[in-house]
C-alpha cells in the first residue's frame, strides 16, 4: 500500500514544488520569517531586561518557536483542501481513479503529499530560528520543550491535513472546500491560543495532554478519511446539493420504518437498539466510572479546609433555603418543568456539539457531573458517615432514574457523533449519520424523555421530603 502511495506522494510533492504560489510563501516563512522573529525576540529581550523581567524572555522564546513552526504548516491546509476537489475541477482526477491503485493508497499518498512540504518547511524554520538565537544570544532551548513543540506542530499538521483531505474528498468545488475549512481553522486557532497561554504560563506538562488529544484526533480523522473515501462519490456528485427530501425520506425510513407502531418501538426497537449500541453504552459507563474515581481522588488531593468543614452544618434552615431556591443563578429552579427542561437542554446541547467532535463532547456534561459527584463524595467523607448519607439521600432518589436516562442519551449521542468515522461497507457517512440520528431521536423520545420527567417529579416532590424527613426536624 505504501509503495503505491509514495508514487502519488512523489508526483504531488514535485508538482507542489513547481508551483511558485506554494514555494514562495514557504520560502519566506522558512528563511525570512525566522530571521524577523529572531530580531523581534532580541529587541523584546533587551526591552524587558531593562525592567529585570527575566522570566518573560524564558516564556517568550518557546512561544516564538511554536509560531515559527506553525506558520509554514498553515500552508498544508491550502494544499490539502484542493487535493481531490482541485484535481476534480481540473479534470485530472478521473485518469487517476482509473488506475489500479487502491483507495487507501490514493488517500494516503495525497495525505502525505499535502503534509511533507509544509512540515519540512516548518522544521527548517524552527531550526533556522533556533540557530539564529544560538548565534546571537547563545540561547539553547530545553530539549523537552522543543520536543513538545515539534510534536505539537506535527500533530497539528496531521489534524489539519487529514481534516482538509476529508473535506476535499467530500465536496465538489474548491470554493466549497474553502468554506468548510473554517471547521478546521476555528478549532485550531482556539487550540493555538490555549497553547500560547500554557507556554506563557509555563504549564508545559499540560501540553502532553493536548498532544494526546491531538493524537486521538489524528487517528480518528485518518480513519474517517480512509473509510469514507469513495471514488464513486467523488466523480458522481456534481453539485453540493443539500437534498432535504432525500434526507427526510432516509431519516423517516430509519425512524419509523414502513409504519409507525408504538408497541413495536417498545417491544422490538428499543431492546434492539440497546443491543446494537452496547459498545457505546460500555464506553460511556467506563468514562463515567473513571470520572467518578477521578473526582474522588481529586477530593483527596484538595480537601476542603478544616475550618470550612466545621462551619458547614446540615440543619433545617439550610434545607429550607435550598428547597425555596428560586433560581437566580446558573442552577435551575426547583420545579418539575424547569428541572426537566434543564436536564434535557444540557443533554441535547452537548449531543449537538458531539456531532462536530466525533461524539466526544457529548460525554462532557455527564463526565463533568460524575466527576463532581465523585468529588462531592470524596469531600463528604471528611464529614464522616453523616456526609455520605446526606449525599445519598440528596442524589439517589431521583438519580436512580435520571442517571440511566442521561447515560442512554449520552451513549446514543456518542454513537451519532462517531458514526461518520467508520460507516459500514456499502453505507455512506451521511446515511450512517442519519441512521444514528434516527436511533438517537427514538431513544430520546420514547425512553429518555419519560425517564427525565419521572426523575424531575421525584427530584421536586420526593427528594426534598426525604431530606426534610431526615434532617429537617
Amino acid at each position: 500500500m505504501l509503495t503505491d502511495a509514495l508514487i502519488i506522494t512523489r508526483r504531488e510533492v514535485r508538482d507542489s514544488l513547481r508551483d511558485w504560489r506554494i514555494v514562495a510563501p514557504i520560502l519566506i516563512l522558512t528563511l525570512i520569517f525566522p530571521w524577523i522573529m529572531n530580531l523581534s525576540t532580541r529587541l523584546a529581550i533587551a526591552f524587558v531586561e531593562e525592567y529585570n523581567a527575566t522570566i518573560i524572555p524564558l516564556r517568550l522564546i518557546p512561544f516564538a518557536v511554536m509560531i515559527v513552526g506553525f506558520f509554514p504548516i498553515s500552508f498544508s491546509l491550502i494544499i490539502a483542501l484542493e487535493t481531490f476537489v482541485g484535481e476534480k475541477e481540473r479534470n485530472s482526477l478521473e485518469p487517476l481513479l482509473d488506475t489500479p491503485i487502491s483507495d487507501a493508497s490514493l488517500y494516503l499518498g495525497k495525505l502525505l503529499a499535502a503534509m511533507i512540504p509544509p512540515l519540512f518547511a516548518s522544521y527548517l524554520g524552527v531550526a533556522a530560528y533556533l540557530i539564529g538565537l544560538y548565534l546571537t544570544i547563545q540561547y539553547v532551548p530545553e530539549w523537552i520543550i522543543l520536543l513538545q513543540i515539534i510534536l505539537l506542530t506535527t500533530m497539528e499538521a496531521i489534524v489539519m491535513v487529514s481534516g482538509a483531505v476529508v473535506v476535499s474528498s467530500h465536496t465538489t468545488s474548491v470554493r466549497a472546500a474553502n468554506l468548510l475549512a473554517s471547521f478546521i481553522i476555528i478549532p485550531m486557532s482556539f487550540l493555538l491560543q490555549a497553547e500560547s497561554i500554557l507556554l506563557f504560563w509555563g504549564q508545559y506538562d499540560v501540553l502532553w495532554y493536548i498532544l494526546a488529544a491531538l493524537f486521538v484526533a489524528d487517528v480518528l480523522l485518518i480513519r474517517t478519511g480512509i473509510r469514507t473515501f469513495n471514488r464513486e462519490e467523488i466523480l458522481a456528485r456534481e453539485i453540493d446539493e443539500l437534498n432535504l427530501g432525500y434526507m427526510l425520506r432516509t431519516f423517516r425510513q430509519f425512524f419509523i420504518g414502513a409504519r409507525f407502531s408504538l408497541v413495536r418501538i417498545y417491544r422490538d426497537d428499543v431492546p434492539r437498539l440497546l443491543r446494537e449500541n452496547r459498545l457505546a453504552l460500555a464506553t460511556v459507563l467506563a468514562a463515567l466510572s473513571l470520572a467518578l474515581i477521578g473526582g474522588w481522588f481529586f477530593a483527596s488531593r484538595y480537601p476542603l479546609p478544616a475550618e470550612l468543614i466545621g462551619s458547614i452544618k446540615i440543619n433545617p434552615e439550610m434545607l429550607r433555603q435550598q428547597t425555596a431556591f428560586q433560581g437566580n443563578s446558573l442552577l435551575p429552579r426547583l420545579d418539575v418543568g424547569t428541572i426537566f427542561f434543564y436536564n434535557l437542554r444540557s443533554l441535547l446541547g452537548f449531543a449537538a456539539l458531539g456531532l462536530f467532535s466525533f461524539g466526544s463532547l457529548a460525554c462532557l456534561p455527564m463526565v463533568t457531573t460524575m466527576g463532581l459527584v465523585g468529588f462531592l463524595f470524596g469531600e463528604a467523607r471528611l464529614f464522616g458517615a453523616e456526609g455520605i448519607v446526606f449525599l445519598i439521600a440528596a442524589l439517589v432518589p431521583h438519580g436512580i432514574v435520571e442517571l440511566p436516562a442521561a447515560i442512554l442519551a449520552t451513549a446514543f449521542a456518542l454513537r451519532a457523533g462517531a458514526s461518520i468515522i467508520a460507516p459500514p461497507p456499502g453505507v455512506t457517512a451521511g446515511e450512517n449519520l442519519l441512521r444514528a440520528l434516527a436511533d438517537f431521536v427514538k431513544i430520546i423520545l420514547f425512553v429518555v424523555l419519560p425517564l427525565l420527567f419521572i426523575a424531575a417529579l421525584i427530584e421536586v416532590n420526593v427528594t426534598p421530603q426525604i431530606l426534610m424527613w431526615m434532617y429537617g426536624r
Partner: protein
C-alpha cells in the same frame, strides 16, 4: 532492441492477463447473433440509478475481442456513466458487467489494469513533461521502468509528440493534449480501450492519426469501446454500433444492419446519357420505383444481384444509353437521427 523485447514481453503478459492481480481467464461463450469470438466486454441488465434519475437502464450487450463498438447517443444519454461503470469507477445499482471475464465490482482493481480509459477531458498535469507524466501512470500500472520508458517513446513518436517531449504539458495545444491523454490510456497496452470522444478538438491530420491508431489497435487484437458524436468516425471504425437514449439501448448492430433495419432496403439510382424515349421497363415484382424522370430512375429492390443485370439488359434492348448505376449512399447520421428524434 532490448527495450523492444521488454515491451513485447510486457504486452504479451498484459494481453494474456498474466499480472499477479489480473490473471483473467476468459471463458469461451458463443454468441450466435454477434460473433464467435469470446466477448471481452459483457453487460447484463446493467443499471445505474442516481437518486430519482436512471442514468443507465438495463443495458445488455457484448463486445467480442478485437472488435470496435461505437456507443452513440445524445448528450446525457448515459454514455459516460456506462463507461465509468465498465471502468470500475462507478458501481452499478443493478445488473452486472464483466471485462475479460472479471466482474467490474468484485475485481475492480484487476479491471482497472485491463482497461485503458481516455476520459472525456484530457485532464493532464500541466506542470509535468510528457515523459515524466507517462512514467507516473506507467508506474501506477506496475510497468517496469525500462518498459514504460520504451513504450512512452514509441507512442510519443507514433503521435508526433516526441519533439515536444521537453515542453511542459501546459504549453501543449488542445489537440496535443488530447493525443497525450490517448497515449496515457494506451501506455500499458490494455486489452480494452474506452475512448470518450477521442478526436474531439483535433485538427484533421491529428484526427486521422488517431483513427489510424485505433484501427491498428483493433488489428492487434485490442477491443475498443468508442463513445463519440462523430458519426463518420463511428461508421468508418466500428464493427458494431450501439445507440442509447435516456439510458436505454435502442439499437445495436453493424452499420449495414442498422441502415437496413431502420431505413429499409437500399435505393439504387440509374442515370442515362440521354433522355429515354420509351417508357421505363419496370420489371414488375422485382423493383419498386421511388422516383423517375426521362434521365434517371430511383428504385428499391430486395434482389439487386438479379434485378440490376435484368434491368440493364432491358434498357439495352430498347436502346437506352446507361451512364451509371449505383447504390445511393445512406449515412449513419440518417440512422442516428431516425433513432433519436
Amino acid at each position: 532492441m532490448a527495450n523492444a523485447i521488454r515491451y513485447s514481453l510486457f504486452a504479451i503478459r498484459n494481453l494474456l492477463g498474466l499480472y499477479s492481480h489480473c490473471s483473467a481467464r476468459t471463458s469461451i461463450v458463443h454468441y450466435g447473433t454477434r460473433s464467435r469470438v469470446p466477448p471481452l466486454i459483457e453487460t447484463s441488465e446493467l443499471t445505474k440509478q442516481f437518486d430519482t434519475l436512471t442514468a443507465v437502464d438495463h443495458l445488455t450487450f457484448n463486445v467480442a475481442e478485437g472488435e470496435i463498438l461505437a456507443l452513440l447517443g445524445p448528450n446525457g444519454a448515459g454514455k459516460t456513466t456506462t463507461v465509468r461503470m465498465l471502468s470500475s469507477i462507478l458501481k452499478p445499482t443493478g445488473g452486472s458487467a464483466r471485462i475479460a471475464g472479471r466482474d467490474v465490482v468484485r475485481d475492480a482493481r484487476t479491471v482497472r489494469h485491463l482497461i485503458g480509459h481516455l476520459t472525456e477531458f484530457p485532464g493532464l498535469y500541466l506542470r509535468m513533461r510528457p515523459l515524466e507524466y507517462l512514467d507516473f501512470f506507467g508506474e501506477l500500472q506496475k510497468m517496469p521502468r525500462a518498459t514504460r520508458r520504451a513504450r512512452a517513446e514509441e507512442l510519443l513518436r507514433q503521435f508526433d509528440l516526441w519533439d515536444a517531449r521537453n515542453r511542459r504539458l501546459g504549453e501543449f495545444s488542445k489537440g496535443m493534449r488530447q493525443k497525450m491523454a490517448l497515449i496515457r490510456a494506451m501506455l500499458h497496452a490494455p486489452r480494452v480501450l474506452f475512448l470518450d470522444e477521442p478526436t474531439s478538438a483535433m485538427d484533421p491530420h491529428s484526427a486521422k492519426q488517431v483513427r489510424d491508431a485505433i484501427a491498428t489497435l483493433r488489428g492487434s487484437g485490442h477491443t475498443i469501446f468508442l463513445c463519440t458524436h462523430n458519426l463518420y468516425e463511428a461508421e468508418s471504425l466500428a464493427d458494431h454500433i450501439a445507440v442509447i437514449r435516456r439510458g436505454k439501448l435502442i439499437a445495436f448492430g453493424t452499420p449495414a444492419q442498422l441502415k437496413r433495419d431502420l431505413l429499409g432496403p437500399p435505393i439504387w439510382e440509374l442515370r442515362l446519357a440521354r433522355p429515354l424515349s420509351a417508357p421505363w421497363p419496370y420489371l414488375d415484382g422485382h423493383l419498386r420505383v421511388a422516383s423517375s424522370d426521362d434521365w434517371s430512375l430511383q428504385y428499391h429492390t430486395e434482389t439487386p444481384e438479379s434485378t440490376n443485370p435484368l434491368l440493364l439488359r432491358r434498357l439495352q434492348e430498347i436502346g437506352a444509353a446507361v451512364l451509371t448505376l449505383h447504390e445511393t449512399p445512406r449515412s449513419l447520421e440518417d440512422v442516428y437521427l431516425k433513432l433519436v428524434q
